[in-house]
């Protein structure tokens, strides 16, 4: 009897070990490339890159780096861009949530903001550029009537020296991201009760929320916030389109060095990537200080006993900020549409004088190959990610596994440019230059975290009694998964796929570096056009780039509706 129990126990242990194997594999598949990539990026900075004849330790690359003109300025732009973008986005989301969570306005803005997440960064940036440029739509609307301009002024916008346009573009894209992670965190805090409590004590909505609920919410969205810092300090595509050019932000210059035809520049690029890592870490350290200051401020707010009952101004400005940033992206897309079908459109006419499909007809033959490549790459990465995440969720309970979350977020918290270069070099050593499988794998690293985040909440929310019921009816684990759980979660995993698909489409730097110019997607092609400045062609590319992810979400919303058109509960 005793031995039998022992055997049972052993069998159960073996079962458990097998079950965690998949999560370990996924952790290794994400963590190892990031770590190796970091090493592979940092080593050449100290002269070690045997493939290019670097085999002794030296600080020469750093000396080269320091002789680069305006290096400090580039680094400072990157640092401030990261901090300002994160701070403005977070404060907007915080105040808006404080003022409106639980109201009808909240869900209205939520519906307005959510689709923004599917608009790729590059497309949003082009849209913004065509809105605010001296010959952009905004100035056309007030010219010559209000402004008196009959020809575009020679303002340096976008690409202004302080990177303000770039920050605006980043805020418009990062704010929806932070908003959605906040939305995901809200159900886990006692929102309604706390609201009632602080209101009964006489506190205004905003102040009551900030003191009573925000710390709980912030604790949950901290990793995403740091991901935004990492992204905004090291972004390349948005910076190429909207950022200053002389000097360009650090990341843009590094990307130039990395793709330079002179292979000797790789050492310089490596040293630059180490500096980039330093800039991002510095931004995170500064953010931690700001966090501490913020918490002191909150504590003194709660101790002061002041009620802050009249917070209409704060509330309204936060709401206006959210709406404005959403409106900016949408009108940006509209301007792109106008330009893509514009015939003659001289300044300061607000609308084109004639419409033509010529830009589309001219662009489509060249664009077909990149689009097919994008579809193969992104659909592949999205599908593999969904399968992996389903496997992970099916076999394990993850709640409370901080290590798993941390590794999952690693590709988002380490600046892309700091480990992609290393991966590229390892690919070179392994003879995998510009190979589709390697590129697919790298896309997968970035897609997995988002797919996991999107699917895990609905997965855990499904009433497990359905599965118990199915088991009691004699269904085995596979049958339960395929006949009960996955069909019931159709909308959730389709949405997760659409998110993975969209993330993959938007990836610029990974595709640029790993694809090495030989594998091009709609995104790399669109960004490459930005220097040329043909608005019609750019608009066609940017619109197509925005259209593809949108189609993904459309499918995710239509398919369940069609499949379950006779099932009332499944349509919601």
């Amino acid at each position: 009897m005793g031995r039998q129990t022992e055997q049972v126990r052993l069998r159960k242990d073996a079962h458990r070990m097998r079950r965690s194997a998949l999560s370990d594999i996924v952790l290794v598949c994400i963590g190892l490339p990031v770590l190796l990539g970091l090493i592979g990026t940092i080593a050449p900075a100290f002269g070690y890159l045997p493939a290019l004849g670097g085999n002794h330790l030296t600080v020469e690359p750093f000396r080269m780096l320091l002789t680069e003109p305006h290096l400090l300025r580039s680094a400072l732009i990157s640092l401030t861009t990261g901090l300002v973008t994160t701070a403005v986005s977070l404060v907007l989301v915080m105040l808006f949530t404080a003022g409106y969570a639980g109201t009808r306005t909240f869900s209205r803005i939520q519906h307005l903001v959510s689709p923004l997440l599917s608009v790729p960064h590059a497309a949003a940036a082009f849209g913004l550029a065509f809105l605010v440029a001296p010959s952009g739509l905004l100035l056309r609307l007030v010219s010559p009537g209000l402004s008196g301009f009959t020809s575009p002024p020679d303002w340096l916008i976008p690409q202004d020296a302080f990177g303000l346009t770039m920050m605006a573009g980043l805020i418009a894209k990062e704010m929806p991201f932070l908003f959605l992670v906040t939305l995901a965190a809200l159900p886990q805090v006692p929102l309604a009760q706390t609201r009632q409590l602080v209101a009964s004590l006489g506190y205004g909505r905003v102040r009551g929320f900030l003191v009573g609920i925000w710390p709980l919410v912030y604790r949950q969205i901290r990793l995403p916030v740091f991901a935004v810092i990492a992204y905004a300090t090291s972004v390349v595509d948005v910076a190429v389109i909207l950022g200053p050019s002389l000097p360009a932000p650090l990341s843009v210059r590094i990307a130039d060095w990395m793709t330079d035809s002179d292979l000797g520049m790789r050492f310089l690029a490596s040293a630059g990537a180490v500096l980039q890592l330093g800039v991002t870490v510095a931004a995170m350290v500064l953010w931690r200080i700001a966090e501490a200051a913020g918490s002191v401020l909150l504590r003194s707010m709660s101790k002061s006993g002041r009620r802050g009952t009249d917070d209409r101004l704060v509330r309204w400005s936060a709401c206006a900020g959210m709406a404005l940033s959403a409106a900016t992206v949408f009108s940006g897309l509209l301007v792109l549409l106008l330009w893509s079908i514009a015939g003659l459109w001289p300044f300061p006419a607000a609308l084109p004088q004639s419409l033509t499909l010529l830009p589309w007809i001219r662009a489509l033959p060249q664009i077909a190959t990149p689009i097919l490549m994008t579809l193969a790459l992104s659909a592949g990465a999205g599908a593999i990610a969904v399968l992996l995440v389903i496997g992970l969720l099916w076999q394990n309970r993850f709640q409370g596994r901080r290590a798993f979350q941390l590794v999952l977020y690693m590709p988002l918290i380490v600046p892309q440019i700091c480990f992609l270069f290393g991966i590229q070099i390892f690919g070179l050593i392994l003879g995998l230059q510009a190979s589709f499988p390697l590129l697919l794998f790298v896309h997968l690293i970035f897609v997995l975290p988002y797919v996991f985040l999107s699917l895990s909440a609905p997965w855990q929310a499904l009433d497990t009694r359905y599965e118990q019921m199915a088991a009691a009816l004699g269904a085995g684990p596979w049958r339960i998964l395929l006949r009960i759980r996955l069909p019931m979660l159709t909308r959730a995993w389709l949405t997760a796929f659409a998110i993975g698909f969209a993330v993959s489409i938007g990836l610029y730097l990974p595709t640029l570096l790993i694809g090495a110019g030989r594998i091009t997607t709609i995104t790399t092609e669109a960004v490459a056009l930005s220097s040329g400045g043909d608005r019609r062609v750019i608009s066609v590319y940017a619109l197509l780039q925005a259209l593809l992810p949108f189609i993904g979400f459309l499918i995710a919303s239509l398919v369940p509706r069609l499949l379950f058109r006779h099932r009332r509960v499944m349509r919601i």
Partner: protein, 219 residues
């Protein structure tokens, strides 16, 4: 759906369940075919944990021991789907993505083969509960009583060897409640199924007409 005649009852031997080292319940009982064992206790007494243990999906946070014998065979190491332990919950839990008929098809034992034979049996089962032309209906459009009847029929079609009831009547309103309760008890008695009913309602226990065990302190 016919009991195979081999069922000579359910024996629970020294079942003990504890949570985080704190004992929740311990009991031994014999439930003969067609008999209903009512287990009473207030919420938090471990009633549901007992049913989960019998059904084979006890949360690993609980520690449980004891033998569950059916025909003298111990079920404890057998996985949930092979136990033949039918379950009914507070909610009907009809699978929302399947039609009423497909819900029954899902339940119908796989020993019955052939699409047309399976379809025939399900149609017949629907007629039995007075839902003759409901095969293609969306379960969401059914009334509470209709859902409860479909849920019962789905479980019985899976040819269980015992039945576990987790307060299955508590969400129904009074007259419906008695009607469904009578239906369930009549059917299980006719099929000679041993039944374990967990409830906090004394009238359920009385209607069951068998032995009653109270766990935890008196409710």
């Amino acid at each position: 759906m016919n009991p195979d005649g081999k069922t000579d009852g359910l024996q629970l031997r020294q079942i003990a369940i504890s949570l985080a080292g704190k004992p929740l319940l311990s009991l031994s009982a014999t439930v003969r075919p067609g008999e209903i064992l009512a287990v009473m206790g207030r919420s938090g007494s471990g009633k549901s944990a007992l049913l989960s243990y019998l059904g084979g999906f006890l949360d690993p946070a609980f520690a449980a021991s004891g033998e569950i014998l059916i025909d003298g065979r111990d079920l404890t190491e057998i996985s949930a789907e092979k136990r033949g332990a039918g379950m009914l919950f507070q909610d009907a839990l009809l699978f929302p993505h399947l039609s009423v008929g497909d819900n029954l098809m899902f339940g119908l034992s796989s020993t019955i083969r052939g699409a047309s034979e399976r379809r025939r049996l399900v149609e017949q089962a629907l007629v039995e509960i007075e839902l003759g032309d409901f095969f293609d209906r969306d379960p969401a459009t059914l009334s509470g009583g209709q859902k409860a009847r479909v849920a019962l029929q789905r479980t019985l079609l899976s040819a269980p060897r015992l039945l576990l009831l987790d307060e299955p009547f508590s969400k129904l309103d009074a007259d419906l409640r008695q009607q469904i309760r009578d239906l369930v008890f009549t059917r299980t008695k006719a099929l000679k199924l041993p039944v374990v009913l967990v409830t906090h309602d004394r009238s359920d226990a009385l209607a069951a007409g068998g032995q009653t065990i109270t766990i935890g302190s008196e409710p």
